[in-house]
């Protein structure tokens, strides 16, 4: 007999035969989605690679105008948030509702903190006239054109990343609400799992962005 929708549960939707099949499919789906995200960011990384090779001096000067300490702090915040996310997933696997909710909240707070710091940094760039446009000027850079290209890529890449963080924060909110409604158990915690994957991915993107944007030629000193 075909399963009718009344019998459909969160853990076993009608198109699947077993709960394991559904979990497998969801996880594979998220991995494929993350691969598309790699290709999406990849275009920007390609443009960065090409232009850094052509304009190494301007890129180094522009990069040194960023505050590496704040950038490093943000990196630490995100790494911690990945840790709390892992703890949340673990709590879900063990069926510990309260721990799950607390860790999700912690992750959300850390994510929001990251976004707050980013907003502060962007505002600083705005004040310093490092935003591409008619008022752009980077001190010490002999050619302003390539310096603008650096900052165009800076805002595009960190902006796209921040957008993904915002989506992540919304997803975490959704998870917290659902967790409070007792939707998850040791038997069914797939959304926590796959959103966790997404969160780690956004973290990994930042791990690449931080050195590429903030640390160009820092080791050479001033």
């Amino acid at each position: 007999m075909a399963s009718d929708s009344a019998a459909e549960t969160l853990a076993l939707r009608e198109q699947f035969d077993t709960e394991a099949q559904q979990k497998d499919a969801s996880t594979l789906g998220m991995w494929i989605f993350l691969i598309t995200e790699v290709m999406f960011f990849g275009g920007l990384f390609l443009a960065y690679t090409v232009y850094r090779r052509w304009y190494p001096a301007e890129f180094a000067i522009a990069s040194s105008s960023l505050n590496a300490v704040i950038g490093a702090a943000n990196t630490v915040i995100l790494l911690c948030s990945s840790f709390t996310m892992v703890m949340a997933v673990r709590a879900a696997q063990l069926g510990k509702r309260d721990a799950l909710i607390w860790f999700l909240i912690l992750t959300l707070i850390l994510g929001a903190a990251f976004l707050g710091v980013k907003a502060y940094e962007w505002n600083e760039k705005f004040q310093e006239h490092h935003v591409p446009g008619p008022t752009f000027h980077l001190e010490n850079a002999v050619r302003q054109g390539p310096a603008q290209i650096y900052f165009s890529l800076y805002f595009a890449m960190t902006g796209l990343h921040a957008l993904h963080m915002v989506v992540g924060v919304c997803l975490l909110t959704f998870l917290i609400i659902e967790a409070r409604r007792n939707r998850f158990s040791a038997a069914y915690m797939t959304p926590v799992d796959i959103i966790g994957l997404y969160w780690h991915f956004v973290d990994i993107i930042w791990i690449f962005l931080f050195p590429l944007l903030y640390l160009i030629d820092r080791h050479l000193g001033k």
């Binding site: 075909a2 304009y55 290209i149």
Partner: protein, 541 residues
């Protein structure tokens, strides 16, 4: 024989009524029909632009429309046909409907994502339509910089947003298909028992998932440059306009395989059913699909041979472009060999199959011309290229799409289409198509550039022939539109398996029930096994 009881039977079309049951459906079969309506609408919009183009090109100096308008016409023809018709067409209509059934599943892995894909196509289409109605866009579908970022004063951003959103429709469909094929095959349905239509759509899905995001980020950069006046592609700021071309074609070359691989999958099905034989060289055809998907990502630079790309890059891309031709050739030979000692029917789907194999052969062979550096320097950006890709997209993909529609129409709707009219339109389309596009090969080699509103008078005769062909072709496309709709009400009721086909979709009634199968099938046979399908066997003489 359809009994009265059968006519009362509940199936996916009558199990619920009302607009909400369609707009909020999770059923892959209904979503396929939603897509069918949408892509058909866009096909006729794109066709309307083509009609205006061909009429304008009857005379060397034009005269019906201004140059600004003409430039918008060919741009919008390309955008509509590529992003809103060809890319979704076969995967989102026939693939959506039949991929789950072919593997013995009740639906795709993610039905709600499937519905979201359709909504994304519609929303993207609305943006593009808005741009067209508000004044149009004139950058060419390839929107090269700096014309598109700095110089064009048309609705570039609105169009770009529309394509961006439609791109996500494509990505999500691809994602859905990949997970479905990996995780939802019925017991016994091993990879090498899959119908080749599934293999083709799987290979297509890989391209959709890996290539489309690069187009998306390229569109984001064009948007930023146009809106915020940043200088990624602006030479005055040290940016490189040719970088745009690399990013654009990195997606847009694989995109042409998104457009043709599903069509090849349809042809594999049709050539088998209507020869009543398994496809010759099944594994070779399956692996060729995968090879095309992989190699397709390595050849984008053949669109940049005269773009100031380095000579050595040109050599590499030309070399690799010949590699990607080989799997397609293998498929053509295998399909032809399938006919040998078969039991050949001349039903309409088979007529489209013959047409496809012939026209795709010509289109593919002319690909060898443009892959050759020496020839391409002369013919790139001329009508030769236009003829080449229309032979594949129209002579190939659209014919396969029509063949598939005719083949699966009884299953989708429970009705037969009128066979005589269908055969006639197939013939009209074949003749009209060749008359439209063959002269364009000659036009191109003679030197007629593409995207030209006005042209030198010695090219007129060939243009007139081409326009004559286009009018015949237009009639050929209108005919199925009419008789398909007619058949919904007046067509003969269709049995479960009118063609004597193998394949799990033919083991369900026409139209199928909501959940496709009463019980998950257990597969024990190889693909294309016709024993037992047609009753008592008679050896072929």
């Amino acid at each position: 024989m359809i009994t009265a009881a059968e006519q009362e039977r509940e199936h996916y079309l009558n199990e619920s009524y009302g607009i909400k049951s369609w707009l909020l459906t999770k059923d892959h079969k209904r979503i396929a029909l939603l897509y069918l309506a949408t892509v058909t609408l866009f096909f006729f919009i794109g066709g309307a632009f083509a009609t205006m183009i061909r009429i304008e090109l009857l005379t060397p100096q034009g005269g019906l429309v201004s140059s600004e308008t003409y430039n918008k016409l060919f741009t919008m023809h390309g955008i509509t046909m590529i992003f809103f018709f060809l890319i979704p067409s076969i995967p989102a209509t026939l693939g959506n409907f039949f991929l789950p059934m072919m593997i013995g599943a009740r639906d795709l892995a993610f039905p709600r994502v499937n519905l979201l894909s359709w909504y994304l196509l519609v929303i993207g289409g609305l943006f593009a339509l808005f741009a067209m109605l508000a004044g149009g866009v004139d950058t060419g579908w390839t929107f090269y910089t700096p014309y598109s970022t700095t110089y064009s004063n048309t609705w570039v951003i609105a169009t770009a947003i529309g394509i961006f959103i439609a791109g996500f429709s494509s990505i999500l469909t691809g994602l859905n298909f990949i997970v479905t094929v990996h995780r939802m095959r019925a017991p016994g349905m091993t990879w090498f028992r899959l119908p080749l239509f599934v293999w083709s759509n799987y290979a297509t899905a890989l391209i959709q998932v890996l290539g489309t995001p690069v187009l998306a980020v390229t569109i984001v950069l064009v948007f930023c440059e146009r809106f915020f006046h940043i200088g990624i592609f602006d030479p005055a700021l040290g940016g490189d306009p040719v970088l745009f071309q690399h990013l654009f074609w990195f997606y847009s070359h694989p995109a042409v395989y998104i457009m043709v691989l599903p069509a090849m999958g349809v042809i594999s099905e049709l050539v088998s059913v209507f020869s009543r034989k398994t496809v010759f060289g099944y594994k070779f055809v399956a692996f060729s699909s995968m090879a095309i998907a992989v190699l397709g990502f390595l050849v984008w630079g053949h669109h940049l041979f005269v773009s100031t790309q380095s000579v050595y890059a040109g050599l590499v891309f030309s070399f690799l472009s010949y590699f990607v031709a080989i799997p397609s050739a293998i498929k053509v030979f295998n399909w032809t060999a399938t006919l040998y000692k078969g039991s050949i029917s001349y039903a309409t789907p088979m007529l489209y199959t013959f047409g496809f194999i012939g026209l795709f052969t010509i289109g593919g062979l002319t690909g060898l011309f443009v892959a050759s550096l020496g020839i391409d320097v002369h013919v790139t950006d001329t009508y030769f290229v236009i003829a080449h890709f229309h032979y594949i997209m129209v002579g190939g993909t659209i014919m396969a799409y029509l063949g598939g529609l005719h083949y699966w129409w009884p299953k989708m709707t429970g009705r037969m289409y009128p066979e005589l009219w269908a055969r006639l339109s197939a013939l009209v389309i074949f003749l009209g198509f060749n008359l439209t596009f063959f002269p364009q090969f000659i036009l191109g080699y003679l030197g007629m550039p593409r995207r030209y509103h006005t042209y030198s008078s010695e090219f007129q005769v060939l243009h007139v022939l081409s326009t004559a062909g286009a009018s015949v072709l237009a009639v050929g496309y209108l005919m199925p539109m009419i008789y398909f709709i007619w058949s919904l009400r007046y067509g003969k009721l269709a049995p479960a398996n009118p063609w004597g086909a193998s394949g799990l979709e033919w083991k369900t009634p026409s139209p199928p029930p909501l959940h496709n199968f009463d019980e998950t099938p257990i597969v024990t046979q190889e693909a294309y096994d016709y024993r037992g399908v047609i009753g008592e066997e008679v050896e072929v003489g």
